[in-house]
Symmetry: C2
């Protein structure tokens, strides 16, 4: 059974405000929870409606309790509360990724996994970007969430202070395949519908784009996660 | 109101078998339906619970009728039945993409959009790959579905007959950044969990991989859609 206090906690953790005040987040489903446990993350609470989870320290609850505790559309076997991961400040990567108002949790999760793959250890998010501890982001980013240091800050302040060459992904930017990218750089990706905001565009000179090859020029812009994949690959391909 | 016959048709079109026999598919939601109409696709049926769709030829139905007709978890404003798009056989691209058992509709939709962006006009799918006319794929691929010629065939037969240099995306393949890719080629992407099947791997000599840069080598493999984005970009970047 879930105690009243824990039930209250789980309800509070649906809100970003409480997650960041308490530095706790909720992970759901056997895949991501197993991965977090394997990474030695210590859950503050662990509940499951499947007996096999008892050996991993889970308290057995009914399926209806699990369903009502879940933040997802369909609850799935296990729900856990973890403290925010801690990061070693010394490991700084040569490429930093900046996100300007990414809305979709699935996109942010995919981008966090991409950072992990490409060794991008710092991810800077605008204050309007979806919370990385949102249950759907946690599910999509998997264990990568524990390896990327993610900061929510005012982008204008951050970018004004940055000395590293900075590049905006922009439909009207220079062809990335013809651009000589530096070994150290900052890449800014914008919102799914509107791209990078005008305010930020004014600050940054370098704009890069992925050329479109299709004959019929009607394709919508690339999804932001696939565009991030291609641009991070372009930054990194020179390093091998 | 939806007639009994149309209701039956909509129900049948939930099954791949009927979609391919009748060469009809269902599209849902204002974004994708508007885009298909803009592309001059002629719907065989068009229903909406919003009056503004009447001017586009929609029959007004109740929200509960829309909900019961929908193939998605949440119905959204409009549902339409379209005939399969027709393709101009003459436009053949230099890169052909082959999918071996892609399961996730969202991944297939993203990959179809990537093909459109990179001018890959032929997409070959194994018989076990999720149907491109599945309602979720239709939603994710948007208008790109009308511009990519998609074939479901036995991969072994297809690949045995192919004379073009063929490359498998494989974790143990050669570093793609160090591989000289040909201007004409076939790229094979595998299933989300298991990669390309052993049967196909036996047929193909060339294997390429996207190197992992993260220091901690625990990152799961890249999502198949983001890996496809990077590899198509690698094939095409030499062409600009």
């Amino acid at each position: 059974m879930i105690s009243n206090n824990t039930e209250k906690l789980l309800r509070k953790l649906k809100a970003k405000k409480y997650r960041w005040t308490m530095e706790l987040f909720v992970a759901e489903g056997p895949k991501v929870v197993s991965e977090l446990l394997d990474l030695k993350m210590k859950p503050q609470h662990l509940f499951s409606d499947k007996q096999e989870w008892e050996s991993k320290g889970a308290t057995l609850i009914s399926s209806s309790e699990l369903k009502s505790a879940s933040q997802l559309e369909t609850s799935n076997e296990v729900i856990a509360v973890f403290p925010f991961p801690k990061f070693d400040k010394s490991s700084k990567s040569n490429v930093t990724l900046v996100l300007d108002s990414i809305n979709d949790p699935g996109n942010l999760g995919t981008i966090i996994r991409l950072c992990d793959w490409f060794g991008v250890t710092e991810l800077i998010c605008s204050l309007k970007t979806v919370d990385c501890y949102n249950a759907k982001v946690v599910q999509a980013s998997m264990g990568s969430l524990t390896r990327i240091s993610i900061h929510y800050i005012d982008l204008k302040t951050y970018l004004t202070a940055t000395k590293t060459p900075t590049f905006i992904a922009d439909m009207n930017g220079e062809n990335v395949y013809k651009t000589s990218l530096p070994k150290e750089g900052v890449l800014i990706m914008g919102n799914e519908a509107n791209g990078v905001s005008e305010e930020i565009k004014k600050l940054i000179v370098n704009k890069i784009s992925i050329p479109r090859f299709g004959e019929i020029q009607e394709t919508e812009s690339l999804n932001v996660a696939t565009a991030t994949a291609i641009l991070l690959s372009e930054f990194k391909r020179g390093c091998v």
